[in-house]
């Protein structure tokens, strides 16, 4: 029971952080960036490559975050900005984003190869026994701690910095925001950069649990946007609640039910939420 709770919170934190990386982009720009999982995967592969080259661990972390964030920003400048300037339809933008996702994923497959390798976690692989059947990995502590720090930092950024406030104003009313002097192009750039950075950070939390290769981004990417829409787009609490709820439900289903339930529960839950309460579970102040 305690073990289920600990594991659920662990994977739920990963989903919540991925959902947060979707959230900062979609709330400020209205764009659902499919490629988020791929920036995470690329940060992992990049980190692995740097470590293999003998780069010191902290430098490998910083280098991988910088590299993945740079690619996220680059995709925004080269592809999304021209589309937005032309007022392209939502379907066209979604297709372009899907193209970016395929290029990032299979491009990495072509360059890096198809092998998956373990990425060492920042705190090693210590195990703490908390009880007869309850144990905790050092990596889990890193995940819980990072989740609190990253969510806290993003909420502070959105509320107490000029750029963060611009993102929130653009989310409420882009036209009014541009009238009062918010540069929507800069907001979009900042949103994609921040989203890319959060996703890249998840690589160092998620990949040490499994391994990292060109397909690593697929599942966290899907579960991230599912968690986001379960929680809702009203506030940063949406991704957190959605992620934790999804993680807990998946782990409990995996523990007590056949595998079809744990694999399918995310999709069934989101369809239910969309049909019954399309704005998500967490409602914001003055949300429509």
């Amino acid at each position: 029971m305690v073990q289920v709770l600990l594991s659920g919170l662990q994977i739920g934190s990963i989903y919540g952080l991925m959902a947060l990386s979707f959230y900062v982009i979609i709330s400020a720009t209205g764009i659902l960036n499919f490629a988020q999982g791929e920036w995470m995967m690329i940060a992992g592969v990049l980190g692995l490559t740097l470590l293999d080259l003998g780069v010191a661990y902290p430098l490998a972390v910083v280098g991988s975050l910088a590299g993945a964030t740079f690619l996220a920003v680059l995709s925004e400048r080269l592809i999304i900005t021209p589309l937005q300037r032309r007022n392209a339809s939502q379907a066209i933008v979604l297709l372009a984003l899907f193209g970016i996702m395929l290029v990032a994923r299979y491009g990495t497959g072509i360059i890096h190869g198809r092998l998956e390798d373990p990425l060492p976690g920042p705190a090693g692989t210590h195990v703490f026994m908390l009880g007869p059947d309850v144990f905790l990995f050092s990596q889990s502590l890193v995940i819980y701690g990072s989740t609190i720090v990253i969510f806290g930092a993003v909420i502070l950024f959105l509320h107490y910095t000029w750029l963060g406030r611009s993102l929130r104003v653009a989310a409420i009313d882009p036209l009014a925001a541009s009238i009062v002097g918010v540069d929507l192009g800069k907001v979009r750039l900042a949103a994609f950069g921040l989203g890319g950075l959060i996703a890249a950070a998840v690589a160092w939390l998620y990949a040490p649990l499994y391994a990292v290769g060109y397909m690593t981004g697929a599942i966290p990417g899907i579960k991230g946007f599912i968690a986001l829409f379960i929680g809702g787009l009203a506030s940063p609490l949406g991704p957190l609640v959605g992620g934790l709820l999804l993680g807990l439900m998946e782990v409990s289903a995996a523990r007590y039910l056949p595998s079809i339930y744990s694999e399918g529960i995310a999709f069934a839950l989101l369809m239910l939420v969309l049909f019954v309460r399309p704005n998500g579970l967490v409602q914001g102040r003055g949300s429509k």
């Binding site: 209205g30 659902l32 592809i79 021209p82 589309l83 032309r86 392209a88 339809s89 939502q90 379907a91 066209i92 933008v93 979604l94 297709l95 372009a96 899907f98 193209g99 970016i100 996702m101 395929l102 290029v103 299979y106 491009g107 497959g109 072509i110 899907i222 946007f225 599912i226 829409f229 056949p258 595998s259 079809i260 694999e263 399918g264 999709f267 069934a268 989101l270 369809m271 969309l274 049909f275 399309p278």
Partner: protein, 322 residues
């Protein structure tokens, strides 16, 4: 997204194109097994893009669950055939089961708009994929279904070139039915609901009902394509249900020009045959399609048809300028 008005000169290029298709369609009869397989797959893909175009092009709904209906059609066919049902009757079962599924999901889904519609239908597609992958002995799980009984016409076992003839018949049937739907009163209602839903409602049309009927019709043809795929390959792999295929088909529709039937055929031909000519492996093909998705959305968002029309207009303008 409006189908552009066509001049008589464009009509002539259309009849030329039709003649070209007849020649192209006949070619695999002189080819080898590989050519026949490519041609049958192409017929199936065309059935998918033509029916998807009904939903995303003419009806303007951004549904991302087409591959789920294709996969349901293929899997229901295989499961029923394994149970001993005649493969011909499997077609009825597959289309009926898929239509019911589409109607069930379509009720709540067609009320959603924009991004929420895309997210809900994509989620549904992922759900169907998981159910098939985790379906245990019924769907064969990750291994899929092998050794499906073959289709027979009298004493003739349909495989290879005779099967390609059947695929052409199925494709022609799909084309004719979809064409006639669009030419009918119902077709005009579909376009009215897409372009002016409020005005359509004021003239006594029920937009949610029209959207639902369009979805079920497209799903029925997707299941038809799934049936055709199933009895050619006689093996099913759960990778068939990967939601990326819906995006690829949507891209083929876009490359041809959304809402333009001839364009959709051209886009499908181009994107299906190009990787075969280049001899690409699967990973390279998907990578190449990703690159093309970015380039086309950036530089030719109205598709090849739009690009050709632009060039045509430009040459016309140059002629007038002389």
């Amino acid at each position: 997204m409006m189908p552009a008005a066509r001049s008589s000169s464009v009509l002539n290029t259309r009849s030329l194109a039709a003649a070209g298709f007849v020649v192209l369609a006949a070619m695999p009869f002189w080819g080898n097994d590989y050519h026949v397989t490519v041609a049958v797959n192409l017929c199936v893909t065309l059935m998918m893009t033509l029916s998807l175009n009904l939903v995303v092009g003419y009806s303007g709904q951004f549904h991302l669950s087409h591959v789920a209906f294709f996969g349901t059609g293929a899997y229901v066919s295989a499961i029923l055939a394994k149970l001993g049902l005649s493969p011909w009757l499997c077609l009825v079962g597959a289309v009926a089961a898929t239509s019911v599924l589409a109607a069930l999901i379509g009720g709540p889904v067609t009320r959603l708009k924009g991004l929420y519609l895309a997210v809900a239908t994509l989620t549904f597609s992922l759900f169907v994929e998981v159910v098939v992958k985790q379906g245990g002995t019924i769907t064969g799980g990750g291994y899929g279904i092998q050794d499906v009984p073959a289709l027979h016409l009298g004493a003739l076992k349909l495989s290879g070139k005779p099967y390609y003839a059947l695929a052409l018949v199925c494709l022609a049937l799909t084309f004719l039915v979809l064409h006639n739907i669009l030419a009918s009163k119902f077709g005009r209602e579909i376009i009215a609901v897409r372009d002016h839903p409020d005005a359509a409602e004021a003239s006594g049309i029920n937009p949610p009902l029209i959207r639902l009927v369009v979805l079920v019709t497209a799903a029925a043809f997707a299941a038809f394509g799934g049936w055709l795929h199933c009895f050619y390959h006689l093996n099913l792999n759960p990778e068939l249900l990967n939601p990326q295929w819906t995006f690829v088909w949507f891209f083929m529709v876009l490359v041809g020009g959304i809402g333009d039937t001839l364009g959709v055929v051209l886009g499908t031909l181009l994107l299906s045959l190009l990787p075969e000519f280049l001899g690409f492996a699967m990973g390279q093909t998907i990578f190449g399609i990703g690159v093309l998705m970015i380039l086309v959305t950036l530089f030719a968002p109205r598709g090849l048809g739009g690009l050709i029309e632009d060039l045509h207009q430009r040459s016309q303008a140059a002629r007038h300028a002389k």
